[in-house]
Symmetry: C2
Subunit: 406 residues, 2 copies
């Protein structure tokens, strides 16, 4: 006899999860990273030294650092943000969180109520867009070009909202290695964005999770760094730079916002062993590690672009990513990428259909996001070839592939 | 110029957090544990072996184990539950979570809506009670005696709710080392509880976080183990057995509930390094570790009871805890422990006032929870002496202390 829970569940639960069946053979989804780049030996050394020195502090919640997270890690983060992103932030301004997803959850818990309005890029991170939907929030998609959000369009959106008497709670942006397009917003445009935010009295929520992974190793200063008003709340993560299975991200915010974030944070902190090992490792190795990772990811990006060109020819249009681990590919109007995703999944090829990555699902109908961080170079080539084959079979596109008429 | 966020915040935010100022000198709050018992050397060895063997899997979210958590850890957990608590559960029934707090959050997210009713012990974990308040849920406190919830009282509560047409969403209980009283519910009473739950068609949510820490090393089978219907959802944690700064706990539930928990879990998993090191360490050392920890905590418990008797005499009444890291002390009616907590905090003594640990705050007005896991034996003695001094000054109680008229 099995107890029937049906009548006990909330009335508004999402569909139950499916059982996990392992990773697909060709895995172009998820922010996975290059396995060979995980610094295993240095992690072992870092674990030993930090545990030997202060392992007994694991006996207390939050170590001896309080609810904002392990202080040496916050010192590293603020130092890296100052050096790499031009920010002026200190360890007291940093909140360590369990990945940038928790950064989104906490900021949203402080600001968003059902019926609120936010502005986000028209193509943006699925995890962010889904959170807006779950929060019952209206989000307005700001059009993108090769340099990120178009400022003329953002200005129009802000004007129109103001005319309608609507004040957005924030402008959410991923300006550096935009997700999913891989663009980098130039500094001049960041200043224009701040000017618009000032004019309309709106805060900015800057998500900089990929910012250390530009292929040329350079990046503009963070919007947070260019702001003098304290209107920018900033988040980042170690998921993409070090390892996604470590659930460590961070928020930089002043005490006004910080004190509110802490008041809605009910989890007794993020895993301390991970914070300790990260602090120990990153303080010594972060810059060299990401410099190497940039090169590895660039080679993977070049490889998947070559494969797309070879297999899809002119049927696949994409912006050349400036960094990161994904590429945004647009196929002809005859291809519905949500249907392609289903057909491909059945044959071991996983991809993100564009409708899940766009504020207006229709604008993503013929696009898809392909992640290239985790597959090997051969898997990238073979996976794209297999995807072209499936796409040709399902939609007659691409007609020609690698100069061979299909 | 500082941006003013006031009008952007949610209208219903809790009060902002205070800045953290370090731990108090005599810290009788929080589930901290004995620092010397953190197995530092074995953790270093476990880190090295597991990272050497499979550290590169950190490059993928969830390692290669999917959303329920690192499979070797789930294997260990299910094996330990079977061996130690008499449960029949497998790795597929285990969800690794970020401490038992996330277990509470996920179960509540699946079951509770505002206006719902739950039953909990009249004295219970503050984190649970606060979650009920935040969820807008009515909770009915079930009276306790030396063996946990009184079944005559629970029967009356269920009858009364039924007469009012109210079906509780679950009965929440900490049957093994009850928080805050430290009692252990005998197996016979567990069977009675299941019988009542069957009669009234109600699920049970069993929180077994302290169950490995009985001072005599024995424990009754879990309620989950005695149930044949699948009506018990079970959670546990490594916070108290290994180290609270590791944020790793677990839920055991069948696929019906598990698939619902996974569908409302949006965090991309718990920290994997902690899961890997725990699995490696616990598989080899868990039983010996907790056997040693039981002895260390028993000595601390004996020490704080001696200190309470010496300093407070008959003014302090307490049940002798059967295990765990806290003791529930009741003072004369003239003492308001919330006021005592404020006065004591000002002098470096932290305690949990009883009103925060009781369903009806009035029943806890004269009681307090003192945690003894983290302070040294000397700190326990000196902290209780200082507390008695402060209590005497503020409330004239205790009148006599250590045979010396104050």
């Amino acid at each position: 006899m099995t107890f029937d829970y049906t009548s006990f569940y909330r009335h508004d639960l999402p569909a139950p999860a499916m059982r996990w069946n392992g990773f697909p053979e060709f895995n172009f989804v998820g922010g996975h990273n290059d396995a060979a780049c995980v610094p295993v030996d240095a992690f072992i050394a870092a674990s030993e030294s930090v545990l030997r020195r202060e392992g007994t502090s694991l006996a207390t919640y939050g170590l001896n650092s309080g609810p904002q997270g392990y202080r040496p890690l916050r010192e590293f983060i603020s130092g890296a943000l100052n050096k790499r992103a031009g920010m002026k932030t200190g360890a007291d301004d940093i909140l360590v969180v369990s990945g940038s997803l928790q950064a989104l959850d906490l900021v949203n818990a402080v600001f968003l109520e059902p019926g609120d309005t936010v502005i986000a890029e028209e193509g943006s991170y699925q995890g962010t867009l889904q959170r807006f939907i779950r929060a019952g929030v209206n989000y307005v998609g700001a059009p993108l070009d090769d340099d990120g959000i178009r400022m003329d369009a953002l200005s129009d959106i802000l004007d129109k909202l103001a005319a309608d008497g609507i004040k957005p709670k924030y402008i959410y942006t991923i300006p550096t290695v935009q997700n999913p397009t891989g663009s980098v917003m130039p500094e001049e445009r960041r200043l224009q964005m701040l000017e618009l935010a000032r004019k309309h009295d709106v805060p900015i929520f800057e998500d900089d999770c990929y910012a250390d992974l530009t292929f040329d190793g350079t990046r503009p200063r963070a919007i947070h760094a260019l702001d003098n008003d304290g209107r920018v709340i900033y988040c980042g993560s170690f998921s993409k730079t070090i390892a996604p299975a470590l659930r460590v991200g961070f928020i930089s915010a002043g005490w006004d916002v910080m004190s509110r974030l802490l008041a809605v944070k009910h989890d007794a902190g993020s895993g301390s062993l991970e914070q300790m090992v990260l602090a120990e490792y990153c303080t010594a190795h972060f810059d060299a590690h990401v410099a190497n990772l940039q090169g590895v990811l660039k080679e993977k990006c070049d490889t998947i672009m070559e494969a797309l060109n070879a297999e899809f020819g002119t049927a696949a249009e994409f912006r050349v990513p400036k960094g990161g681990i994904f590429i945004w590919v647009t196929l002809p109007d005859s291809v519905d990428t949500s249907k392609l995703a289903v057909a491909a999944a059945a044959e071991g090829v996983a991809l993100n259909p564009g409708e899940e990555w766009t504020a207006d699902p229709e604008t993503g109908r013929h696009s898809m996001r392909l992640c290239f961080g985790n597959p090997t170079l051969d898997e990238l080539r073979n996976g794209v070839a297999k995807l072209a084959e499936i796409c040709h079979r399902e939609f007659g596109v691409p007609v020609r592939s690698a100069n061979v008429e299909r």
